[in-house]
C-alpha cells in the first residue's frame, strides 16, 4: 500500500494561491517519492507472513499425499477407518476409533483439570491478588509453562501413576493409563489457560467493575457476573486453544498412556493415543511404505482436521458470546 504523506512545508503557509511560481514549486514538492527502503521492509514483512502460510500448505499437501497412499491400500477403506473399533495393522484392521478414543479421554481428563483450575487461578490473579502476590505467582506459573513435556511425561509415569496406584489400588490402575497422562497434561496446560484467561479478564475496563461495586455488588458477584461474562470470548478462545494443545500433545501420552491401541472407556487402563501412535511408528520399527507406516499420515491428517475444526469452532463461539464493551 502506498500512503504518501503530504508534508506541509514552510512555503505552504507563506504563499498565496495567486503566486504562480511558488505554486508550481509546491506542486513539484507533492510528487510521489519512490521510498525503496519502505518497499523493501514491506516486502520482507509480507515474506515472513507468507512463510507460515506456505508451511501450513506444505504440511497439508504432504499429509494429503501420503494419506492418499494409505487409503489406496486394498485392505483399507475410509468408512472402516473412521468407524472401526480395532486397530491392528498386522492383520489388516485399520479402525482408528481406539486411538481417537484414547486421545479424547486424555484430553477430557486434562480439560477437567486445566479449565476450572486455570480459570479460577486467572480470576484470583486478576481480581483478588495484591500486586505483590501477583508479582510472585505469575513467574511461578510461567516456570510451569517452561518445563519440557518429556519431564512431564516422566512425572506422570514415575510420580502420578504410582500415586494413583497407592490411592486406588494397583489392581485398578495399570502402569500405563490415560488418566495419569491426562492429569499431568492438565497441569501442563493450566498456565496457558490461566495466562490467556487472565489477559482477557484484565482487558475488561475498570469502569465496568466500578459500576458493579457502585451498585453494592460484592467482589465475587462482580468477578463472576460482570467481569467473566465480559471476558467470555477471550476465555473461550483460551479453552479451545487448550483443547487443541491437549489433542496434539505427544510426549506425555507416549510415555505414560500406553503403547498399544486399546478401545476402552476405562481411564485406568493403558490405551494409545493418535499422537502416541504416530510417535511410536515414526520411531522406526515398521518398514517404510507399508500400510502401517502410511497410516500415520492419515492419522496426522485426522488430527490436523480435528484441531482445525476446534479453531473454527473457537472463532464461532467467541463471536457468538462476545459481549462488546467500550
Amino acid at each position: 500500500m502506498e500512503q504518501e504523506m503530504f508534508r506541509p512545508t514552510q512555503q505552504t503557509q507563506a504563499i498565496s494561491p495567486f503566486d504562480v511560481h511558488a505554486s508550481s514549486a509546491l506542486i513539484a514538492n507533492l510528487r510521489k517519492r519512490p521510498r525503496w527502503g519502505e518497499r523493501f521492509i514491506q516486502g520482507f514483512l509480507f515474506f515472513c507472513g507468507a512463510v507460515s502460510i506456505l508451511t501450513t500448505l506444505g504440511i497439508v499437501f504432504e499429509l494429503g499425499k501420503e494419506s492418499l497412499l494409505f487409503f489406496q491400500t486394498p485392505e483399507v477403506n475410509l468408512i472402516e477407518f473412521l468407524t472401526g473399533t480395532k486397530w491392528q495393522p498386522t492383520i489388516g484392521e485399520f479402525g482408528v476409533l481406539p486411538l481417537v478414543n484414547a486421545t479424547l479421554m486424555t484430553t477430557l481428563v486434562a480439560m477437567l483439570v486445566a479449565l476450572p483450575l486455570g480459570l479460577a487461578a486467572a480470576i484470583y490473579l486478576s481480581e483478588y491478588a495484591s500486586p505483590k502476590a501477583r508479582g510472585f505467582l505469575k513467574p511461578i506459573l510461567e516456570i510451569l509453562a517452561g518445563i519440557p513435556t518429556v519431564v512431564y511425561g516422566y512425572f506422570a509415569l514415575t510420580f502420578m501413576t504410582p500415586l494413583l496406584r497407592t490411592i486406588l489400588g494397583s489392581e485398578t490402575v495399570q502402569i500405563y493409563n490415560t488418566f495419569s497422562a491426562g492429569l499431568v497434561m492438565g497441569i501442563m496446560i493450566l498456565p496457558l489457560v490461566c495466562s490467556m484467561s487472565e489477559d482477557a479478564l484484565n482487558a475488561v475496563p475498570r469502569a465496568l467493575r466500578e459500576a458493579a461495586y457502585g451498585m453494592g455488588a460484592t467482589k465475587l458477584e462482580t468477578a463472576l457476573q460482570v467481569v467473566v461474562p465480559a471476558a467470555l470470548s477471550g476465555i473461550i478462545a483460551a479453552f479451545i486453544l487448550a483443547i487443541s494443545r491437549a489433542v496434539g500433545e505427544t510426549m506425555i501420552v507416549a510415555l505414560a498412556a500406553g503403547s498399544g491401541p486399546n478401545f476402552t472407556f476405562n481411564p485406568f487402563k493403558a490405551a494409545e493415543t493418535m499422537t502416541g501412535y504416530i510417535a511410536r511408528i515414526s520411531g522406526g520399527d515398521v518398514g517404510y511404505d507399508t500400510p502401517d507406516y502410511n497410516s500415520i499420515f492419515a492419522i496426522g491428517l485426522l488430527l490436523f482436521t480435528i484441531t482445525l475444526a476446534l479453531n473454527i469452532l473457537s472463532r464461532k463461539l467467541s463471536a457468538r458470546f462476545r459481549e462488546v464493551y467500550e
Binding site: 495484591s130 500486586p131 475496563p205 469502569a207 465496568l208 467493575r209 466500578e210 459500576a211 458493579a212 461495586y213 457502585g214 451498585m215 453494592g216 455488588a217 460484592t218 458477584e221 457476573q225 460482570v226 461474562p229 465480559a230 459481549e323 462488546v324 464493551y325 467500550e326
Partner: protein, 262 residues
C-alpha cells in the same frame, strides 16, 4: 433555589476533618462538608483539586485503590462509614454512583437494571422494578420495546440515563454523580439535569462537575474546591448556589467563577 441557612440537624451525609491520601501524597485535606438531604449539591473546582477523590469517598469507592486511605469521619445517619465494622458493600448499596463515562454492563437493557437489584436481594416483581426505574430515569418511552437489546446499542445520553435507572433500582438514599455529563452533548446534558431536578424530590444528589453553568443551573448548593500550595485539594467555600455564584465570599471563588482562574 433556597437561600435558607443549613439546619443543624439531619444532614444526608457529613464530612468531618477528612484527609485523603494516595500513598504518602495527601490528595485532599481537612474537608468539612455537610450535605443537605434531598437537594442537589455541586462540587466544582479546577482539575486536580480532588473533586473526584472526594465524591468517591462518600461511598468508599476509594477502597478499590490499594494505596488510598482516609483520615477523619464521614457521618451517615450518625455513623462513621469508615469505621472498621462497616461493610463497604452495604454503604455502596445505600449511596449509589453514576460515573463520568456511561458504563452500562454489556448485557441487555433489562439485565442492566435487574442485575443490581438481584445482587441486593430484591424479591419483588422484576418487570415492575425495571419499568419503574426506567420511568424514573425518563428513559422508559425510548426503550420499552427494546428491553432485550444490548444496552450498548443506546446513545451516550441514553446509556447515562440507563446508568441512573440502574442506580435507582437499588433504591439508594444518596446518588453520587461524578461528572455525569462530561461525555454527553448539550441536549443529553439538559435531559440529565432535568432528571436530576426531578430526582432531588426523593434523593440526595451530589454532583461533581467541570461545567460551571451546569452547577449554577442545576444545583441547590455549591462547594468550591481548589488546590493548595502543597497540591492538596481544599474546600474554599460552600453555600447556596445562588450565593456562591453571585456573592462569593472568597476571592479565589470569585476568580474561578468569573473565569479569571489561571
Amino acid at each position: 433555589m433556597t437561600e435558607t441557612p443549613f439546619p443543624n440537624n439531619a444532614y444526608a451525609i457529613e464530612l468531618r476533618n477528612v484527609d485523603i491520601f494516595y500513598g504518602n501524597f495527601r490528595a485532599v485535606k481537612d474537608i468539612n462538608l455537610q450535605i443537605e438531604p434531598r437537594k442537589i449539591t455541586a462540587i466544582i473546582g479546577p482539575s486536580g483539586c480532588g473533586k473526584s477523590t472526594v465524591i468517591r469517598c462518600f461511598n468508599r469507592m476509594n477502597d478499590l485503590v490499594p494505596s488510598a486511605h482516609l483520615n477523619g469521619e464521614i457521618l451517615f445517619h450518625g455513623k462513621n462509614i469508615y469505621d472498621p465494622d462497616v461493610d463497604p458493600v452495604q454503604v455502596r448499596r445505600l449511596i449509589g454512583m453514576v460515573f463520568q463515562k456511561p458504563n452500562p454492563f454489556p448485557k441487555s437493557i433489562y439485565e442492566n437494571i435487574a442485575w443490581g437489584a438481584r445482587v441486593n436481594g430484591y424479591r419483588g416483581n422484576m418487570d415492575d422494578l425495571v419499568e419503574q426505574s426506567l420511568r424514573q430515569a425518563a428513559l422508559w418511552d425510548e426503550v420499552k420495546d427494546t428491553l432485550k437489546k444490548s444496552a450498548l446499542a443506546l446513545s451516550g445520553g441514553q446509556q447515562q440515563r440507563l446508568c441512573i435507572a440502574r442506580t435507582l433500582a437499588v433504591r439508594p438514599e444518596i446518588i453520587l454523580m461524578d461528572e455525569p455529563c462530561s461525555a454527553l452533548d448539550p441536549i443529553a446534558t439538559l435531559k440529565i439535569e432535568d432528571l436530576m431536578r426531578e430526582l432531588s424530590t426523593q434523593y440526595t444528589i451530589i454532583i461533581v462537575t467541570h461545567n460551571m453553568q451546569q452547577a449554577a443551573r442545576a444545583s441547590d448548593f455549591t462547594a468550591f474546591f481548589t488546590m493548595d500550595t502543597d497540591r492538596a485539594g481544599i474546600m474554599v467555600e460552600y453555600g447556596p448556589t445562588s450565593q456562591i455564584f453571585t456573592r462569593p465570599k472568597d476571592k479565589r471563588t470569585e476568580d474561578y467563577i468569573t473565569g479569571r482562574f489561571g
